[in-house]
């Protein structure tokens, strides 16, 4: 693994943030502050006339920034839990992107975004059943065979009430990582959303989760809407989220990266300087 250069380096993990292309001045401002850039194939793709392709100008930008900098390739549209079949379009984008970047690993959300080929426009958590675990394990193994990179899965927020389950949240992640050898991304802001929205017990979850599988932490800030805390990646990171991340950092021996996720739509509101200040603050707080 490339040696991180930010203040977090002494702890063995690098700092990362989202970049979706098309904002050269933002990139210039944030690049010196991070070790890795999180790149989402779906977000830099255009689909017209029934064919999805990576945007050429963004790809050129990524090729340029790829020189000497590793990427964290993080998908949103694979829909790994769709029973009728995952999204082959996403895999084609991954095939197109991976030769262009020096990726540390690639990852996806443990959820579903499409059903029978129809996109939901949202992401749903998976039922934690043995049947679903078998399905996801089989697909993770296919990804591991197809790409010579580590593959990580991320916990997502539970928007709908949970389906009857055979596993707890942590138990499902432990079993998935144990059976396949995949790594985990622990999105600590998602844990806070679940705790706020339906009383999810973070303490119980962290006590049960096998921390050696955690390779990356995600941080974000969101909004309250109708009393629900939403995972929209539109704000700076709350102190409570940073505190939770620090607890996980102290317990995760194989952690490689902490990523501050921010929607490009939120950047004009926050401003480039605020984003840069936030990255510097995170680097300092997470390293202390």
């Amino acid at each position: 693994m490339e040696t991180p250069s930010t203040q977090t380096a002494a702890h063995g993990f690098g700092l990362a943030t989202t970049y979706e292309g098309g904002d050269a001045s933002l990139l210039e401002r944030i690049a010196p502050l991070v070790d890795y850039l999180e790149i989402t194939p779906d977000s830099i793709a255009r689909r017209m006339n029934s064919s999805a392709r990576l945007d050429e100008s963004t790809l050129a930008e990524i090729r340029e920034l790829g020189r000497g900098r590793k990427a964290l390739v993080h998908g949103v549209g694979l829909s790994i839990g769709t029973a009728s079949g995952w999204n082959e379009d996403y895999l084609r984008l991954l095939d197109e992107l991976l030769p262009e970047v020096d990726a540390l690993w690639h990852s996806e959300h443990l959820g579903l975004t499409m059903i029978e080929g129809e996109h939901l426009g949202s992401m749903l958590a998976l039922p934690r059943t043995e049947r679903m675990l078998e399905l996801v394990c089989e697909r993770v193994r296919r990804l591991q065979e197809a790409y010579s990179l580590p593959f990580l899965v991320e916990n997502i927020v539970h928007l709908l009430p949970d389906a009857p389950a055979d596993y707890s949240d942590a138990g499902f992640l432990n079993a998935l990582a144990g059976r396949t050898g995949c790594g985990l991304i622990l999105d600590v802001y998602n844990l806070e959303c679940d705790a706020h929205n339906y009383g999810f017990d973070i303490e119980v979850f962290l006590a049960e989760l096998e921390m050696q599988h955690v390779r990356e932490i995600h941080l974000a800030g969101g909004v309250l809407h109708r009393g629900y805390r939403l995972d929209v990646h539109s704000r700076l990171v709350a102190d409570s989220t940073i505190a939770l991340a620090r607890r996980v950092i102290a317990q995760a021996p194989n952690l490689g990266a902490v990523t501050y996720e921010l929607l490009p739509e939120a950047v004009p509101t926050l401003g480039h300087e605020a984003v840069a200040r936030e990255l510097a603050r995170l680097s300092s707080l997470l390293a202390s």
């Binding site: 779906d42 793709a45 255009r46 689909r47 017209m48 999805a52 549209g77 769709t82 029973a83 009728s84 579903l112 975004t113 499409m114 059903i115 029978e116 080929g117 129809e118 996109h119 939901l120 426009g121 949202s122 749903l124 039922p127 059943t129 049947r131 679903m132 399905l135 928007l159 709908l160 009430p161 389906a163 009857p164 809407h225 109708r226 629900y228 939403l230 739509e265």
Partner: protein, 174 residues
């Protein structure tokens, strides 16, 4: 107990307000169907569709807002169509749907914006859009926030074709 596929099909139907076969509906799905969170999932999806539509079809979106139909039109589009996750493609789908709207002004505006999108993507065809009122006055009213002009006969706008930047209007007395 439903199978995994049945359960996911039923969730899609619930989210998109479609009818659900009785045999697909178990206790869990009835619980989801009655939950406040189901509306939240739909709201999130609609918020993203609305953002994409406002960005990629600004004229049609502005006209819909002007006549108080934006939110219902976006919801109807989302619930009745397999909308693309790619915003540019979704916007074209939306314009196609609105170009067969029952309101002739809405139909014309969506067809106009759809034609411009297609020409911008390199479509060599010429598109003729028929309006029931002066399109320049409609666009001015939208820009200035003025009341929309009343129907006053047939007007035609041509987009694309041999002169790909042509935007001519030929008012025809009604």
């Amino acid at each position: 107990m439903t199978s995994l596929e049945q359960q996911q099909r039923a969730l899609l139907a619930l989210i998109k307000k479609r009818s659900l076969p009785r045999e697909d509906c178990d206790e869990y799905l009835r619980h989801v169907g009655a939950s406040d969170e189901l509306g939240l999932v739909r709201e999130i999806a609609l918020w993203w569709r609305a953002l994409g539509i406002e960005r990629n079809c600004p004229l049609t979106a502005k006209l819909l807002r002007k006549i108080g139909r934006f939110e219902p039109a976006v919801e109807s589009f989302y619930c009745r169509h397999a909308t693309s996750p790619y915003m540019e493609e979704m916007a074209v789908q939306f314009l196609e749907a609105m170009s067969v709207d029952s309101d002739p002004l809405m139909r014309a505006m969506a067809a106009f914006e759809l034609a411009m999108a297609r020409v911008a993507q390199g479509d060599p065809r010429e598109f003729v859009i028929e309006w029931d009122r002066d399109p320049t006055a409609v666009l001015t009213a939208l820009r200035m926030g003025d009341p929309l002009p009343q129907p006053d006969g047939l007007h035609r706008t041509t987009v694309g074709g041999a002169q790909s930047d042509l935007r001519s209007e030929i008012p025809i007395p009604g």
